[in-house]
């Protein structure tokens, strides 16, 4: 079927015309909301089929749905994973994990009960992490100091930064270290279930990912219109460099991406990044088109020109 795909691409491209007249914005938005019908809708779809500009707008304006995580292409139907053997062994494994977690976390709860406990404030691209016992709290970290009693509720931060209370359940310990440990454990388990993807950069500078050891590759959207020229992977960390010094990092195997922006204290290269190498999750080096090397020893948070 592959040749026909390429043939279609070629011929469809020829159907694209530079259109001068575009439908008004309110009709495009009404189309997105299925508020149009009959000839009005047909004329909009006809226009969209031939106008890349309006397609861009309609796609950008499409509402983000919460269920995007569960979107699986039906070109590759997923196997029936909810089968009896999986359920049976899954239950056994879950019980074992709970028992091990309960046994291992109980002493930890006592160790952590009189040390600063911190929850990061809103940082959309990062998961909440626990600060090490002797780490100083940073300005954007809400800290509970030694000796201060932790209220018997778990405080979570929503996107507006407002704290909301989650009631205690079934007599679990009053401090929230247990909850955080469990949350981290759940995160780790979820991450562990996911196979580490393989990454490559296409010739046009787009990022591609394979979840089946390179048998099939799917384009990954990182950010609008960036051309990437270099990639480095260390565990679940992925760094992407490209034109005009653009640098992205993902700490969760490509689930979320954050662009690294230069600041007065932390400059970044302005020319094209052509190579990135990371020996481990902290120490790395990048090379730019102007043949200048930059190094980092903190996982790319700050870079130093060599």
């Amino acid at each position: 079927m592959k040749p026909i795909h390429n043939l279609l691409r070629q011929r469809l491209y020829r159907t694209q015309k530079p259109l001068i007249e575009h439908p008004p914005i309110d009709l495009l938005s009404a189309f997105s909301e299925r508020a149009l019908s009959g000839p009005e809708r047909t004329s909009i779809v006809k226009h969209l089929a031939n106008c890349a500009d309006c397609r861009d707008i309609v796609f950008l304006a499409a509402r983000e749905v919460a269920s995007s995580a569960g979107q699986i292409s039906s070109f590759h139907p997923s196997p029936r994973w909810i089968s009896w053997p999986v359920l049976r062994w899954g239950t056994v494994a879950a019980c074992a994990v709970i028992v091990v977690a309960a046994v291992r976390l109980r002493p930890n709860r006592q160790n952590y009960s009189h040390v600063p406990v911190a929850v990061h404030s809103q940082q959309p691209l990062q998961k909440a992490v626990t600060a090490p016992p002797n780490e100083q709290s940073s300005p954007n970290v809400a800290a509970v100091h030694p000796g201060q009693e932790v209220p018997p509720v778990r405080r979570l931060h929503n996107s507006q930064g407002k704290a909301k209370a989650v009631p205690r359940i079934l007599g679990l310990p009053p401090d929230d270290s247990f909850y955080r440990q469990m949350a981290l454990l759940a995160d780790v388990q979820t991450d562990m279930r996911r196979p580490l993807p393989r990454w490559t950069l296409a010739a046009d500078g787009t990022l591609q990912r394979s979840l089946d050891d390179g048998i099939s590759w799917k384009r990954v959207y990182v950010a609008q219109d960036h051309v990437f020229r270099a990639i480095a992977v260390a565990g679940r960390n992925v760094w992407l460099g490209g034109k005009k010094g653009v640098l992205f990092h993902s700490a969760d195997a490509g689930q979320h991406w954050a662009q690294m922006k230069p600041t007065a204290d932390n400059p970044l290269p302005a020319s094209d990044i052509l190579g990135i190498e990371f020996q481990d999750e902290l120490d790395g080096k990048l090379t730019t088109a102007s043949n200048v090397s930059w190094t980092t020893s903190d996982g790319g948070r700050s870079w130093e020109k060599q």
């Binding site: 890349a52 397609r55 020319s271």
Partner: protein
């Protein structure tokens, strides 16, 4: 205003009653809008969106007026007219959303803030026409929700900002990178035509496709949109799009084979012609299409897209 039949003149009593009812249910009065102004707004919208023939029909007009988002429309027009209470209501409903939408569209907090700010300036109306502030909200017609309209306006603004930015390169960038010269065209990628009959057969089949199918194919093959992105745009389930693409491919293949047969190819020749990958003919179509489509999508030379006015 055009000299159109029903709408341009005095509305029939039945329609007038409907408009009165719609106005009474709307917060128009509290935003300082009079019924006469409300009626003029609705008539203008009908003239713009309802075909002249359909304007003859009272039932079509009734359905059209009833389908409008009157509350949103009244709010938007009152804001455009500078009513403070309307602005208060608008900001309480959409201020956060404006930033959320900008964040989703721009995918970067600094760019999102800039995008939301410039959109807000447009909505408030920083330009003057005949001494009057021109608010973009005056172009909202209530055909979809005000939130959906804002989403589309922000997307359009993002595309326009992108074009404007492409024209500007900072001195630092130029100093570090050096003056850029376009590379000469790659001569090895000269386009050798595919069998003309294959092209003709494919074009014929594509031209006969319904617009919906063509939209799905173009989005999937030219824009590299995922099935879920296309499904979201068309408000259908992803599996529906997946099935559609699958079915379309099979049907296209069959029709192209038929077209090739009509152009004098034997069944076997037609099959062989379809099996030849166009990339084998010294053209890397995928690369070219991706690059060209990108530059076409946000090309500098084009007029700023969709008016909205």
């Amino acid at each position: 205003m055009r000299d159109d039949p029903q709408v341009a003149g005095e509305l029939p009593a039945e329609l007038n009653a409907l408009l009165e009812e719609l106005f009474a249910k709307s917060p128009g009065l509290s935003f300082g809008l009079t019924f006469a102004q409300f009626k003029i707004i609705l008539k203008e919208i009908a003239i713009k969106h309802v075909s002249v023939d359909a304007q003859e029909s009272a039932s079509t007009l009734r359905d059209f007026f009833s389908s409008l988002r009157i509350d949103d429309l009244v709010l938007a027009r009152a804001c455009a007219a500078g009513n403070d209470k309307a602005w208060e209501s608008f900001l309480s409903r959409f201020r956060e959303k404006l930033f959320d939408i900008a964040g989703y569209v721009a995918k970067d907090s600094a760019a999102a803030r800039e995008l939301a700010d410039s959109t807000y300036a447009d909505l408030y109306g920083t330009k003057l026409r005949d001494g009057q502030r021109v608010s973009k909200l005056a172009s909202y017609t209530g055909r979809g929700s005000l939130e959906g309209w804002l989403r589309t306006v922000i997307a359009q603004e993002y595309v326009n900002q992108y074009r404007r930015r492409r024209r500007l390169v900072s001195f630092e960038e130029e100093a570090e990178v050096g003056t850029q010269f376009p590379a000469p065209p790659v001569t090895t990628e000269t386009e050798t035509p595919v069998d003309a009959r294959l092209e003709a057969a494919t074009d014929e089949v594509l031209a006969a496709l319904p617009p919906d199918d063509l939209f799905v194919l173009t989005s999937y093959y030219l824009d590299d949109k995922t099935l879920s992105e296309i499904a979201r745009t068309l408000s259908v389930h992803e599996s529906t799009i997946s099935r559609k693409v699958d079915k379309l491919l099979k049907s296209l293949r069959k029709k192209i084979l038929g077209g090739l047969s009509r152009r004098g190819m034997s069944r076997r020749q037609a099959e062989e012609a379809l099996e030849v990958d166009v990339r084998d003919i010294r053209i890397n179509i995928r690369n070219r299409l991706t690059q060209e489509t990108r530059s076409q999508s946000f090309s500098e030379g084009k007029a700023e897209v969709p008016g909205g006015q």
